[in-house]
Amino acid sequence: MDYSGFDVDDFIFDKAFTEWVRTGENDAFWQDLMQSQPLVSHKIEEAREIILAAASLPQAMLSAQEKQEILQNIHQRIEEEEVVEDQPVVLTVFRKMWWAAAAVIIVAGWLTWKGTGSHSKEVTYEKLVAAEVKSTELQESVNTAEKPLLVNLPDGSSVLLLKGGKLSFNKANFNNTRREVYLSGEAFFEVSKNPEKPFFVYANELVTKVLGTSFTIRAFNDSKNVEVVVKTGKVSVFTQRDPGKEDKMKDNKLEGLVLLPNQQIVLERSQMKLSKSGIERPELLTLPAQKLSFEFDDVPFAEVAATMERSYGVEIIFDKELLGKCRLTAYLSDEPLNDKIRMICDALSATSEVADKKIFIKANACK
């Protein structure tokens, strides 16, 4: 390249030249050129000075707080819009759940009104409960309200029961060798981890076995299909009529049809056929796993509390003056509500007390 006839504005547009000014690339060549051609050397100096001046122009600065505020506004607006977009209402709830869960199972189906069909071979909630649990030992929760109902199980697991859902368990032996619950309708589970005592959900003909994770099940007596979708984590699924059912229930392994993230099975109840298939509504599954957790990065406690209140339908009572502005960093995911509260309290050096749907958090100071 012959630079002898170059003027300042020629250098300004020369790629090799600007690269040298910015990064010092090929320094020897340019030093050499300046040595050997004093006339060009002046132009080079001038062009270099202008580029360097432009490159070091003062910056307008955003404070860290401003930066954070903008990001929060963005997130807030996005969430508002997504909730509005999600119709019908059930899906809204689901979307919220996803923020709350590390793993999600959706058991769904189109409703076909068959009546209660007492002669059919169908396995329903009522039949299961009647066969397995003595009425005196039955602990049942029914949610007739619009809002999800929080059910705390004796092992510390929490269940959010959606409208129209019923959940029951045997209070006499719930926590003996295995943990078993019966479900009708839709619920979101956060199961405390305990591989020694597997957790079973009986929903119609379907048995879902987990060792500790979180998921949603939706199973209505009158559904034609039962659908299971796992978001993250691992669960195994088999039917009540599975010949190997007893074996699968016995040990602490997940056997049978094991579902991994983003897999789906459909149970056709009329034929008792379990089949893996594609995900019907992939747009609901595009949220990455990490988004399903309660991740708080340097967030005021008031906000954390509000998130928990929204997600679990509980009321968190705390000294707003004292704790409201405490900033908290916590990465929570599929722990049951009580564990989440305990972990948050640990971080804040606070204590908690649970009474009904109210959680009291007490602390002496913001640590």
Partner: protein
């Protein structure tokens, strides 16, 4: 250099994850470019809130359209171009003041000379150059900034400014000429002033 390439690779990866709906990558891209975007935006408006709003709206739009976003080799380029448009719309709706598309490309005659002499004369050459640069006509200054402050090439600069490449080249050429002229005037004035002391 290697580090720069790695960062660019990371950002492009984030961009692709964002297109697939990953909020974390989305937030990362925001955090990575927020300052650059704010600096660029501040050039068009002194109103901090307006620039902040524009950045906010830009990212909300990006999230909304994430599925339709194309793969890109320069995320920064995409963001700058979009922010400029966004600011354009916001300034039009909110205020009458706008430096956009002001075709007035004439320098504000060198009334600054005196000012220069009175102001900290001991200022370094660099500071003087900064001052001169910022006093260039808006579009000249923007072109220089995009090319040498934000390191876009001519093609990208032209696309961001919605001009053709040759016009950008002309703008920069003009600004360099103008700058050199100003600078020599000031230096000689300074010398003159110095000598007469």
């Amino acid at each position: 250099m290697e580090k720069k390439i790695r960062i660019e690779k990371d950002i492009i990866e984030c961009w692709n994850l964002l297109r697939a709906g990953d909020r974390k990558s989305f937030a990362h891209i925001y955090s990575f470019y927020a300052d650059d975007l704010f600096t660029y935006g501040s050039y068009f408006s002194q109103d901090r809130d307006l620039v902040k709003d524009a950045i906010q709206e830009l990212f909300i739009d990006i999230w909304r359209m994430r599925e339709n976003l194309s793969a890109t080799t320069s995320v920064k380029f995409y963001l700058f171009r979009s922010l400029r448009r966004k600011l354009h719309v916001l300034t039009e709706t909110r205020t009458s003041f706008s430096t956009f598309d002001s075709e007035a490309d004439l320098p504000e005659v060198i009334s600054h000379e005196e000012e220069f002499m009175n102001r900290e004369t001991q200022d370094g050459r660099l500071k003087q150059l900064h001052r001169l640069l910022s006093q260039l006509p808006p579009r000249q200054f923007e072109a220089i900034r995009l090319c040498y402050f934000d390191n876009f090439d001519l093609k990208e600069t032209a696309s961001i400014m919605q001009m053709n490449e040759q016009s950008v080249r002309n703008l920069i050429q003009r600004s360099i000429r103008h700058l050199r002229q100003l600078f020599t005037t000031i230096v000689s004035l300074f010398l003159f002033f110095y000598k007469t002391l």
